[in-house]
Point group: C2
Chain length 155, copies 2
């Protein structure tokens, strides 16, 4: 991967959604690679600028760290939902070897998020702003669903 | 695996639930191994008698054919649900390498089946009767859920 695009001084690094995804990325780092890294460096590979995207082959199998980033993203959204609705939110990421699959979040018997995944080896966001925007949108939609169908979410 | 426990003459081989699981097993047989096999032989490894269970190690990784059998089972239940409720039912089997995970079936935004999987390398049923009984129970519970929350299932 090319030079870091994020900086320690980036304002959004302190945003609650970003804090949550950093926590989740560190939680999935079973070999302790990130232990000595500052947050902006842990987060940096989530951002795929046009230049970075060009460097990734169009077709390919996702590697383990890319899958970890995808899982951290779903875990962070689930944590965001839990905080709002005060019910357990369960992320399920189901992938084939080729990087196709489903990203789900379940609250009780309610599917609050259901996304088709493709090209997971190219998973990332144009900018930190886009990442935050996307996460907030996903959480808001899920919370609205839980509020509309609280009986099913509490099953 | 020991000698076949099922026989061609077994009455239950003609049961709709059993027909469905045989169809699903054949659909997942990408190498055509089952092409020349009669149905009872395709179905036979789903039945784990006490003797067969004893032959399987307590701890182990599930092999590909065992996972296929598990998927065929969820696909067959999903097909049974679809027939009853006339809505699409989506099976999701999510497994770790060690054979732990989740078996889900989704109808729209409704989780109609949610089972924790463990010891998948030992997946099987005591008898064909037990298999049919289990499938019918799963389908009936799922159909009841859809009927109780049709609005969520139709989302």
């Amino acid at each position: 991967m090319s030079e870091a695009v994020l900086q320690e001084s980036d304002d959004l690094i302190g945003h609650p959604a970003v804090r949550q995804i950093v926590t989740q990325l560190r939680a999935l780092d079973s070999y302790g690679t990130y232990d000595t890294w500052p947050d902006f460096k842990v987060l940096d590979p989530m951002i795929l600028t046009k230049e970075r995207r060009r460097e990734i082959p169009v077709v390919g199998d996702p590697d383990e760290t890319t899958i970890s980033r995808l899982k951290a993203y779903y875990n962070a959204i689930a944590a965001g939902i839990e905080r709002e609705v005060e019910l357990m939110a369960v992320p399920v990421v189901n992938l084939s070897h080729e990087g196709f699959g489903k990203g789900l979040i379940l609250v009780g018997r309610l599917v609050v998020l259901n996304r088709t995944l493709r090209d997971v080896h190219r998973f990332g966001f144009d900018s930190l702003e886009k990442l935050v925007e996307d996460m907030e949108k996903q959480v808001a939609q899920a919370v609205a669903l839980v509020n509309a169908h609280r009986d099913v979410a509490e099953m």
